[in-house]
């Protein structure tokens, strides 16, 4: 603090004529009542300000914050639980869908296999029928061809006999041709 020498103006036993302290100002008896008085006033004011306004307010703010934190933690727990439930449900749905898909696949495979077997059987039957039919046709054709050959042979033999000047005996020629063809 700046020392402004106010010569002889301060009327105190603890301050000299230059305004400087004589000894320790802390031990100056004449200032003590003043300090005690204002200190008591100050402490009373601070006490009432703190105990009536400030401390209850801070206590309520802290309690409110604690409550908010507790609630938020509880809400977070709840949301976490819900998320876990949702995940479990999703997993279950996924597993179900996979099993169903597998079942459908299996079913489809079996159906196709059955149809295929049936178709194969049908085709086999058709092929067998066609084969039999063809064999019959071939036999018929072969038989008719032999008959034609016989006729041609008999006609040819008759013509040859006639050409050679012999008498054409129908029956004899036919027998002879038959015998030849058998031989």
């Amino acid at each position: 603090m700046a020392t402004d020498p106010i010569a002889g103006e301060i009327t105190s036993a603890c301050v000299d004529s230059h305004g400087s302290a004589i000894g320790m100002p802390q031990l100056c008896a004449e200032w003590i009542p003043n300090q005690v008085f204002w200190l008591v006033i100050t402490l009373v004011v601070i006490f009432f300000v703190l105990s009536r306004i400030a401390l209850p307010r801070i206590a309520s703010v802290l309690a409110e914050r604690q409550g908010t934190i507790t609630n938020d933690i509880a809400a977070a727990e709840e949301l976490k639980r819900q998320a876990a439930d949702a995940e479990a449900a999703y997993d279950k749905a996924l597993a179900d869908a996979r099993a169903e898909a597998q079942a459908i696949g299996q079913q489809t495979r079996e159906d196709i296999k059955a149809k295929l077997e049936e178709a194969t059987r049908e085709a086999d039957a058709q092929i067998a029928a066609k084969t039999a039919e063809s064999e019959a046709a071939i036999a018929e054709i072969r038989a008719s061809a032999l008959a034609n050959v016989e006729i041609v042979a008999k006609d040819t033999a008759e013509a040859i006999v006639a050409a050679l000047g012999g008498k054409t005996d129908q029956a004899a020629i036919s027998t002879a041709v038959d015998n030849r063809m058998k031989g």
């Binding site: 105190s12 320790m24 200032w31 008085f37 200190l39 100050t42 300000v49 307010r57 703010v61």
Partner: protein, 264 residues
Amino acid sequence: MATEATQGAEMAGHGAEHAAETGGLVFHPMDQFIVKPLFGDGAVGMFTITNVTLWMAIAILVIVALMVLGTSRRAVVPSRSQSVAELAYGFIHKMVEDVTGKEGLVYFPYIMTLFMFIVVANFLGLIPMSFTTTSHFAVTVVLALCVFLGVTILGFVKNGPSFLSMFWVTSAPLALRPVLAIIEIISYFVRPVSHSIRLAGNVMAGHAVIKVFAGFAGLAIISPLSIVAITAIYGLEVMVAFVQAYVFTILTCVYLKDALHPHH
């Protein structure tokens, strides 16, 4: 002039020789503690408005600004000032609860009042040109006597005559107990003395040392060193300002604990 400077320096316990040697330098380390009327130059009576009044009023305003205005928004997510107020509240509340137990929390507002006044007055005293109210024994003795008387009365009200068993150390051998009782009683009555002088002494010494160093700044050669020293001491004083408020408060809690639970 020189004798006064020497006298003042001796009181501060520092720089006495330097003051006597250099002579030309002006040391008034104790002038900062003079109580003077704010208006006029009359004598300081009991109800005179003095610099004590001014700086105590500023302390009240700071406390109101911090603890009442700072918390007026009651925000769940606190602003800076509300954080500081909550920090101070939590610090002292926890201290009272830890030292005295749950039943000591009834006295929390009283202890909070002491702490807030001391810590704010100490820090206000660190403002250059300010007046430090807590550097006066008159102030700290009143604070300590409030604690001493309050705790003693509370001890007798809560425990009756068995409060005196605090002085009768039953864990010691019987022959030693009367001796220990005398020592305990002396130490009990020394409490307010040490309690008050520790605070005022620390604050006063630091401020006086700063003034002594500031006095050396008058010499051009020494002044850079002097400024560095002032800065360093100021840093120390910032710590002392808080630590002494803390010490005063925690000792109050310890004394309160003795009153609530006198049986060791």
